[in-house]
C-alpha cells in the first residue's frame, strides 16, 4: 500500500495567447484565457493511479489557485483520484515559485501520510520546473526529477529511470520521495464516464459558499456536511485553515518581481525579398557562394 499526493495546476492555455490578455505590469490576465489542466501534471496523476492500481493505496490531488481551479480537481476525480484539496485564498495570489512551494509544503505536511508526491516537471505558463524541487527541499525529502519510467516499487524503495543530460540513469530512492515526470512518460487515461456521473457535482467549500449566498434557504455549514456525506466535497484550505507565516505567502513571500516589460521591437527593414522562382533562388545561392557560406 502506497499513498500518493499529486500536485496539479490549472494553467492558462498558452496556445491561445494574444497581446490582449497581458496586463500592463506584464503579468497575464488569466481570467481572459481558457484554463486547462497542465498536461504534465495529468501525466503525473496517471503515474500515481498506476502505482495505486498495482500496489494499492490512495491518491490525493492538490491544487493551489483561484476558486475556479476546482475544475482540475473534478477532472482528477474523473480519472480516479480518491480525494482532492483546493488551496485558495486571495492572500496566496501573485505567488512566485518560492511562495507557492512554501504553501504547498505546509499543505502536504497537514495532509500527511504519504509515500510519494508526484508532479509534472513544469507548468506551461512559466516553464520554470522549480515548484517540485522547492517543495521537496522544504519537506526535507529526496526528489527524482525528469522521471521517464517507474521500474519497481518495494516496501521502502522505488527504482526509477530518469533523463539526464545526454542520456539516462537508473536511481533508487527511499520513501517518501517527490517525483516529477516528463510529458511523454505515459498516456493519461480518459475520464471514466461512471466517475464523471459520480463526481460532476463535487464542489469546493468556496463553490458551496457561493451557492448559499444566492439562496437564503441554504446554509454553508449544512451544505458542506451534506456534500461530505455524499463524498462530493472538494476539501478546501484557505489561509485560516493553515498555520502559515503570511510574510511568506503570495506577493509578500515572492522575491521575484517584474521590474520592466518591453514590447519586442523588431529590426526589420534590411531584408532582401527573394522570389520563390528558379531565378530568384539561383540569385540567392550565388550570393551565399560569394559570401563563402556555400561552396
Amino acid at each position: 500500500m502506497f499513498n500518493s499526493i499529486v500536485m496539479v495546476k490549472q494553467v492558462p492555455d498558452t496556445a491561445n495567447i494574444s497581446g490582449k490578455v497581458m496586463k500592463d505590469d506584464g503579468t497575464v490576465n488569466r481570467t481572459k484565457l481558457p484554463a486547462i489542466f497542465n498536461h504534465e501534471d495529468r501525466v503525473a496523476l496517471e503515474l500515481a493511479l498506476q502505482v495505486k492500481e498495482k500496489y494499492g493505496g490512495k491518491v490525493t490531488a492538490v491544487t493551489m489557485g483561484p476558486p475556479r481551479a476546482s475544475d482540475v480537481l473534478r477532472e482528477c476525480l474523473y480519472m480516479g483520484a480518491n480525494e482532492t484539496y483546493l488551496v485558495s485564498d486571495r492572500k496566496f495570489a501573485g505567488a512566485d515559485t518560492l511562495a507557492t512551494s512554501y504553501v504547498l509544503s505546509e499543505v502536504i505536511k497537514k495532509i500527511g501520510n504519504y509515500d510519494f508526491i508526484f508532479a509534472g516537471r513544469q507548468a506551461i505558463d512559466g516553464d520554470t520546473a522549480q515548484v517540485g524541487p522547492q517543495t521537496a527541499e522544504k519537506l526535507g525529502i529526496p526528489q527524482i526529477t525528469y522521471t521517464e519510467e517507474i521500474l519497481n516499487v518495494e516496501k521502502n524503495k522505488i527504482k526509477i529511470k530518469r533523463k539526464i543530460d545526454g542520456g539516462y540513469e537508473i536511481v533508487e530512492s527511499t520513501l517518501p520521495v517527490l517525483i516529477t515526470v516528463l510529458k511523454d512518460v505515459v498516456e493519461p487515461r480518459p475520464f471514466s464516464s461512471k466517475r464523471v456521473m459520480a463526481f460532476k457535482n463535487a464542489r469546493s467549500v468556496m463553490d458551496l459558499e457561493k451557492l448559499a449566498e444566492g439562496n437564503s434557504l441554504l446554509y454553508t455549514d449544512r451544505l458542506i456536511h451534506e456534500y461530505k456525506e455524499k463524498n462530493l466535497l472538494i476539501n478546501t484550505f484557505t489561509m485560516d485553515d493553515l498555520n502559515l507565516d503570511i510574510q511568506r505567502c503570495g506577493i509578500a513571500g515572492s522575491p521575484t518581481k517584474v521590474h520592466k516589460v518591453e514590447s519586442v521591437v523588431l529590426k526589420g527593414g534590411n531584408q532582401i525579398k527573394v522570389e520563390p522562382t528558379k531565378g530568384g533562388l539561383s540569385g540567392l545561392i550565388d550570393q551565399l557562394m560569394t559570401d563563402h557560406i556555400f561552396g
Binding site: I17, S18, G19, M22, G26, T27, D96, L98, S101, D127, T128, A129, Q130, G132, P133, Q134, E137, P142, Q143, I144, T145, K159, I164, D165, G166, G167, Y168, E169, V171, E172, T174, P255, T256, K257, H259, K260, V261, E262, V264, L266, K267, Q271, I272, K273, V274, E275, P276, T277, K278, L281, S282, L284, I285, D286, L288, M289, D291, I293, F294, G295
Partner: protein
C-alpha cells in the same frame, strides 16, 4: 534585506550592504568528470557581472578528482575556485550537492549565483533557492547588473534577469530586490564563451565535505550517456523547420535540404512538440542558442522564444507562406512561399550550381 549604501544615514536605521555580498558564483557542472560548456559560458558572463559591481567571481566545483576542472575555470575569469572533493561526490546527486551549495551560500552569502539550465542545474538550483529563500529566475536570455529604484527604494547591484515572458510578445526584466542572493539559470549557448587572454592566477580553496546519511537516500544504479551528441552550436549551417510544415512527411524536406547543403537539422519548439524532430535539436529559449553562418527557418513563425535562440546568426533565410510572419523581421533573405514547393526548387537550383 539589501540596502543601498547611500541609505546608510537614513533615520529608518537602514544598514550598509554586507560587504561580503558582492561575489558572483557559478556552479560548475561536470558529467563523468568533464565540465559542461554552459558552466564556462556562465563564467564569462559572471566575469562581466562581477566587474560591474567590483566583486569577485568564484567557481563552485564539486566532484571527485576534479581539481583540473577547478584550474580551468581561471581561464574564463574566475578569481577563486571553491573545490569540494569526495569519492561519494563523483556523480551529481541532488541531496549532497544541494546540501553543499546550501551551506556555502548561507555562510558566505554571495550576491549572485548562476546555474546552467540543464537537467542538473534545474534539479539543484530550485533546492538551493528554496533553502536559502533566494529569488530564482529560469532560462534567462540576458543578465545585467544595475542599481535600480524599485517602489521608491534604491537598491544597488541588482541582477537584471531578462527573459521572454508569457506569450512571447514581451521581454520581462525580473529582479529580486529584497533578498541577499540572486539566482538565475541560463541555457547552454546563450552566453558567449570568451576565454581571457591571460588566465587569472589560480587560487583554489578546498571546502571539506561532511557526509550525512541524508545524502545516501538516493543511489545511482546505472548511468548511460551517448557520446555522439548532436552539436548544433558548432554547425556552420542550420536548417530548421517549424509547425508550419504541418506534417512529419513535409519535415523530411527540411532533412533533404540540410543533407544537400551540408547543414544540421533543427526545429522550433512546436516542431519538437509535434514530434517532427527530436528535443536535442530544438532551437530557442528552452532549447539551444545557435550562431551559425547560415540559418534557414522554414515554416517557423518566429515567436520571440525561437528568435532568442537564433537571431544572432550571421545570415538568416526565412521561408514562410505568411508574409506577415515575425520571422521575416529578422531575416536577411525572405521567401514567401510554400515550403513543399520552395525547398525542392532550392535543392534543384543548388545542385545545378554545383555542376
Amino acid at each position: 534585506m539589501e540596502q543601498n549604501p547611500k541609505s546608510e544615514n537614513l533615520p529608518d536605521g537602514s544598514q550598509v550592504q554586507n560587504p561580503k555580498s558582492n561575489e558572483v558564483w557559478v556552479f560548475i557542472e561536470q558529467r563523468d568528470g568533464k565540465p559542461a560548456d554552459v558552466s564556462f559560458e556562465l563564467l564569462c558572463k559572471g566575469h562581466k557581472l562581477a566587474q560591474a559591481m567590483n566583486g569577485k567571481l568564484k567557481s563552485i566545483v564539486i566532484g571527485d578528482g576534479v581539481e583540473e576542472i577547478a584550474k580551468e575555470t581561471f581561464r574564463y575569469g574566475a578569481d577563486e575556485a571553491l573545490l569540494v572533493e569526495h569519492p561519494s561526490l563523483k556523480n551529481y546527486r541532488t541531496l549532497p550537492y544541494s546540501r553543499i551549495i546550501n551551506d556555502l551560500v548561507k555562510t558566505v552569502v554571495p550576491r549572485i549565483v548562476l546555474f546552467g539550465a540543464t537537467v542538473i542545474g534545474r534539479d539543484v538550483a530550485p533546492r538551493v533557492a528554496s533553502h536559502t529563500k533566494s529569488g530564482l529566475t529560469a532560462d534567462c536570455t540576458d543578465l545585467q547588473v544595475s542599481d535600480v529604484k524599485y517602489l521608491g527604494k534604491d537598491y544597488s547591484n541588482l541582477l537584471l534577469q531578462i527573459r521572454p515572458a508569457f506569450g512571447g510578445n514581451i521581454i520581462a526584466t525580473i529582479i529580486t530586490p529584497d533578498v541577499s542572493t540572486q539566482m538565475a539559470t541560463v541555457r547552454e549557448g546563450v552566453m558567449e564563451l570568451t576565454p581571457l587572454e591571460k588566465p587569472n592566477e589560480i587560487k583554489i580553496t578546498r571546502v571539506e565535505y561532511k557526509p550525512d546519511p541524508i545524502d545516501e537516500l538516493v543511489q545511482i544504479i546505472e548511468q548511460h550517456r551517448e557520446s555522439n551528441k548532436v552539436n548544433l552550436k558548432a554547425a556552420p549551417i542550420i536548417v530548421a523547420g517549424g509547425y508550419g510544415l504541418s506534417t512529419k512527411e513535409n519535415f523530411k524536406l527540411v532533412e533533404e535540404l540540410a543533407n544537400t547543403i551540408g547543414g544540421e537539422i533543427a526545429g522550433s519548439r512546436a516542431a519538437v512538440d509535434a514530434g517532427f524532430v527530436t528535443p536535442d535539436r530544438q532551437v530557442g529559449q528552452t532549447g539551444v542558442t545557435v550562431r551559425p553562418k547560415l540559418y534557414i527557418a522554414i515554416g517557423i513563425s518566429g515567436a520571440i522564444q525561437h528568435r532568442a535562440g537564433m537571431q544572432e546568426s550571421n545570415k538568416i533565410i526565412a521561408i514562410n507562406t505568411d508574409p506577415e510572419a515575425p520571422i521575416f523581421d529578422i531575416a536577411h533573405y525572405g521567401i514567401v512561399g510554400d515550403a513543399t514547393e520552395v525547398i525542392p526548387a532550392f535543392i534543384e537550383a543548388y545542385k545545378h550550381k554545383l555542376k
